[in-house]
């Protein structure tokens, strides 16, 4: 883990390496794949010592060995040479444990640059495609940006939906209505 401002500086540096939107998205995909790879965990090793991120961050392994492992993983995720150089730098500076934070900041920067916004919609049951399309359209109209919609199912909501867009929460769930009813009855 590294602090937020440091992760943001690395993210900005990576943004400056990308000459166009397509390259930025490719870097974003590479960062996302690498972060996902780092999150893999072997249940046979409860200590997590052999997890990828811990091996790469472990000081008792030589830098050459860790770099070799890093390069092998990057080849698997199809990283281009700039990304390899970027990860080499991060590894040498001992910031490899902050890869996920760098990814999140980079994703925000890349989305902002591309005029995108990410939204999460939770419903009690799975949404049909037409509802998803209408929800996405409504959010795009409200934000004026392309919405990358992620849907989740939460039976506790009973009915309705809750959307998180940036720092906004748009809630029309039965659960929230019942909570409001409870509060009004108590007061």
């Amino acid at each position: 883990m590294i602090n937020g401002s440091l992760a943001k500086r690395y993210a900005r540096a990576l943004m400056s390496l990308a000459p166009n939107a397509a390259t930025r998205d490719r870097y974003l995909a590479t960062l996302g794949d690498f972060t996902t790879a780092c999150k893999t965990h072997d249940d046979a090793d409860p200590s997590g010592e052999s997890d990828l991120i811990n091996v790469l961050d472990a000081g008792h392994h030589t830098l050459a060995n860790r770099r070799a492992i890093l390069h092998a993983v990057l080849r698997k995720v199809g990283a281009d040479p700039n990304m390899v150089k970027f990860f080499d730098l991060v590894l040498e500076r001992g910031r490899i444990s902050g890869t996920e934070q760098i990814f999140l900041h980079y994703r925000d920067l890349a989305d902002e640059a591309a005029g995108r916004i990410r939204a999460t919609v939770k419903t009690a049951s799975a949404l049909d495609p037409s509802s998803t399309t209408r929800i996405k359209g409504a959010l795009e109209q409200a934000t004026g940006k392309t919405v990358l919609l992620e849907t989740k199912v939460d039976p506790e909501l009973i009915g309705g939906l809750v959307a998180h867009v940036g720092s906004y929460t748009l809630d029309r769930s039965v659960r929230t209505s019942l909570d409001k009813l409870r509060s009004s009855l108590r007061s």
Partner: protein
Amino acid sequence: MNAMNRILIPLSAALVVWAAPLVALASPPHGEEAAHDAGHGAEHHVSEGIKWISNPIGGAEDGRTGFIIIIANFVGLFFILNAILFRGLRKMHKEKTDAIRTELNRATAARAEADALVKEYEAKLGSLETEVEDIRAAAKKTAAAEYDRILAEAKEQAEKIRDAGVRAAEREAARRRAELENAIVEQAVAKAEAAIRSSFGGADQRRLVDAWVAEVTDTQLGAN
């Protein structure tokens, strides 16, 4: 030393007073000597009357001592007695007199004091009944005041306890009321949830989504 003087001085005085006449009685009287002398011869003449002066060294023809010499002797004896005896006696007498007078004064004062005490106690005894009544009245008054004070304090304390009890009961009642209300609310909400879950269907979900979409479409969200 003083004790010795007390013994010696009276003893000396007694010796002088009694021994001098004894010496005088022991020596032959002059008249007898003259008669004795007359009986032995007529050549001796008998002298008569007071012999005023005689040879102080002695050697008088009739053996008598002159009256002036006797007086001088007496005066000398008086001064000697005064010097060695009477002065001490007077001093001792004065000391005893002073001591007696002091004791007398002290006894008089003690008696006066005793008389005063007697009078005081008589007065006290005389006023004892009144004093007892006064004390009894004061004690009754004090007891009544104390009774009133204790009663007032007890009433105040009881009032405080009652208020505290009322407040505690009110708090407890409020707490129970809130618990009961919460329980009622929870039950009501649980029943409402169960009713909604049992009746909620796809049409309801679509209606909610439509309402949400209509609401969001009319909203402008910041670029965040």
